[in-house]
Amino acid sequence: MPKILSKERLAQNIVQIEVDAPMIARSAKAGQFVVLRINEEGERIPLTIADKDPESGKVTIIFQEAGASTCYLGSLEVGSEIKNILGPLGTPAHINKVGHVVVIGGGVGIAEIYPAIKAYKDAGNKVTTIIGARCKDLLLSEAKIKSITDELLITTDDGSCGRKGFVTEILKEMLEDSSIEINLVYAVGPVPMMEAVCHVTAPAKIKTIVSLNPIMLDATGMCGVCRVTVGGQTKFGCVDGPEFDGHLVDFKELKARLSAYKDKEKIASDHVCKLAHL
């Protein structure tokens, strides 16, 4: 069974773990994710591959303790085994040389953009990265991102680091600045953030890729719970995505579908907290 090899708490409720998964580490590409199940009773939860090391066979995952399963995962110690991990899933990001790419990460999405930044850089693009979080403590992987991006811009909701405000404000200013040409925007973060980014880039007709996080079950194209409407067509988030052209995504439907189990999530998290003495 796959083992947790390391664990680090990056912020109050954000945890990074490395899992022993050699086959996944060998084949993972930017934009892909895994699905894992902690134990027999566990759910299958999708998590982005934040980094990988084909040599040592390690896969890095960074997650926010958002509810029952992620809190439980966060309570496991180094050396613990989980029931299974499946991947790499999803269609890898289509990385080309386009010129100037603006990569935007919000919230726990900051932790998920590293592979994309690296891939866009490796393809010969100039990469500007904008990261945004509620406060300074939640700015994840800042140093790691800084080491590879051409430029790093930071916003926090409370102004404790970088600009006070949202990532979209910086993006808007960049668009208004005629000396800056942007060829592609790539955004990962909370749904409202991705939607706001698309609102900003749509009038300027700048292609915008978003990485969607619909509810998933098998994540191999078998159940269709992950369906999202893109350009009026139903797509499966787990196999056709998770990355889509943000200007075509029906965000309203996505938000509704993400709320399907709200009441059950509360029950599940109470149950897990009791079990794990959290």
């Binding site: 086959m23 996944i24 084949s27 199940r37 009773e41 566990g42 759910e43 299958r44 029952a68 399963s69 029931k83 299974n84 991990i85 499946l86 991947g87 790499p88 899933l89 079950l217 098998d218 191999t220 194209g221 078998m222 159940c223 269709g224 719970v225 369906r227 409407t229 139903t234 196999v239 439907e253 509704a256 579908r257 709320s259 399907a260 189990y261 059950k264 999530e265 029950i267 599940a268 109470d270 149950h271 897990v272």
Partner: protein
């Protein structure tokens, strides 16, 4: 004059709709013997022509009649590795029992129930075929459904070093994630998987071929032949407005949450499911019956089957349709949904349907349903399950560009050998046939194992 056909015992409706325990019970020894004695032991048994794997039906029935249950099982196992499964889920009314000579004037012998009876005992160990030592040659089997299990077991018998790759953490394919416990106890499937492993087959779960490893990787890793039995796991949707409303499930999602993730034990098991009071299942195959009967067991007040064709055209097994009816599932035939409507939170609340009538026969020979003009009406529902069929999962063909497929996604094989357009890559079961049956998947797995041996020539 032969005696009347013995009916297989069933649990009373009031009990069985409260839980997921098996509905049909095995014959007791006396009824089994009596039913077996109805068989007139035809010289040219028609029933065998109807059996996709050519079980020597009169021979095993004779052994049952003589009270030799274990010998009967061994006789079946000469041809069929999964009698406990097939005795329960094969559509015998379309196969062996359809052709049974007694069926002309009366009722056919209950071959399926007798097969199940014979299987109700510990498996006799099957001796390895004579003269086939072990080779070091590696063969990969993709998928652990009935096609994969059968192929892997036969290849292991032949002495190959077999690795079976399965993307899910539970093995057994549809037998595990699709068909519910009340029709096929999971213990039976697990026993069969353990048996395959005991033959030396290595089982690697959580490997998605096409993503974790490709067909090309498998050849590079030293596998000399590959059997693809990845099934038809891609759910069809109806393509009508409102299908992405909350509370609308594909049958695969619905059954996976229940059978594989045990959502009915929430929150002990963390995967949730929401089943309302008024459930509509669209479709009338085995999958639809299973979904409807699961919904009932999970507390729905009313469960409807909505189907656009007529009763005789329902593809589900007759026995399962009858059981669903007994349990109170409400059948709305010649009715087709046209649109689903939601409430202000995006949850389904109504389905608009049209009445249909039967017109001219279509390509399949079935009379085509045509809409009755101005017959729209609305049904109030709070959960919908779409069970209108599955297509082959495209992941493997997409990741192997030389692999030729039909327009609808099935892998194209040479029917004589089960070999695909890539030399050394064989395929069978639902990935080739589209959603079909357990027994045909097993038959394909068997043929493929034999042809792989010829291909490898070692």
């Amino acid at each position: 004059m032969p005696a009347d056909r013995h009916k297989i015992p069933e649990r009373p409706v009031a009990d069985r709709i409260k839980d997921f325990e098996e509905v049909a019970l095995p014959f007791d020894l006396e009824s089994a013997k009596a039913e077996a004695k109805r068989c007139i032991q035809c010289k040219k048994p028609k029933c065998v022509d109807g059996c996709p794997v050519e079980i020597d039906i009169p021979a095993f029935i004779k052994l049952v009649a003589e009270g030799k249950q274990d010998e009967a099982l061994a006789k079946i196992k000469e041809k069929n590795a999964l009698p406990a499964v097939c005795g329960r889920v094969c559509p015998q009314e379309d196969q062996c029992e359809k052709l049974c000579i007694l069926g002309i004037k009366g009722k056919p012998v209950a071959i399926g129930a007798l097969e199940r009876f014979a299987s109700e005992q510990p498996s006799p160990s099957i001796p390895l075929p004579e003269g086939e030592g072990s080779t070091k040659v590696k063969v990969a089997v993709v998928g652990s459904g009935p096609a994969g299990i059968t192929c892997a077991a036969d290849l292991a018998h032949m002495g190959y070093k077999v690795t079976m790759f399965e993307s899910l953490s539970d093995s057994g394919g549809v037998l595990i994630y699709g068909i519910p416990e009340f029709r096929l106890p999971k213990k039976i499937v697990r026993t069969e998987i353990e048996y395959v492993k005991s033959l030396g087959v290595e089982l690697l779960n959580d490997v998605l071929i096409g993503k974790t490893l490709t067909i090309e990787d498998l050849f590079k890793d030293g596998y000399k032949a590959i059997f693809v039995g990845s099934g038809a796991g891609l759910p069809n949707f109806m393509r009508i407005p409102g299908e992405n409303l909350l509370g609308v499930y594909s049958a695969n999602e619905f059954l996976c949450r229940i059978n594989m993730m045990k959502a009915y034990k929430f929150p002990k098991y963390l995967t949730p499911i929401k089943i309302g009071k008024k459930v509509a299942v669209f479709g009338a195959g085995n999958v639809a019956m299973d979904a409807a009967r699961c919904a009932l067991r999970l507390g729905a007040d009313e469960v409807k089957i909505i189907y656009r064709r007529a009763r005789e055209q329902m593809p589900a097994r007759i026995e399962e349709i009858e059981r669903a009816e007994e349990e109170g599932i409400d059948f709305h035939l010649l009715t087709a949904p046209t649109e689903l409507f939601g409430n202000e939170n995006g949850w389904i609340k109504e389905a608009e349907c049209l009445k249909m009538e039967l017109g001219e026969p279509d390509k399949s020979g079935r009379r085509r349903p045509v809409p009755v003009p101005n017959s729209e009406f609305r049904v109030s529902i709070d959960t919908a399950v779409i069970a209108i069929g599955n297509k082959p999962n495209p992941l493997i063909p997409q990741s192997a560009s030389d692999l030729k497929t039909e327009k609808w996604g099935g892998i194209i094989v040479d029917p004589a050998t089960q070999m695909s357009s890539i030399p050394g890559v064989f395929a069978g079961g639902d990935i080739v046939r589209g959603a079909a049956t357990v027994i045909s998947a097993m038959g394909d797995g068997k043929v493929a194992a034999r042809k792989i041996k010829e291909f490898l020539n070692v």
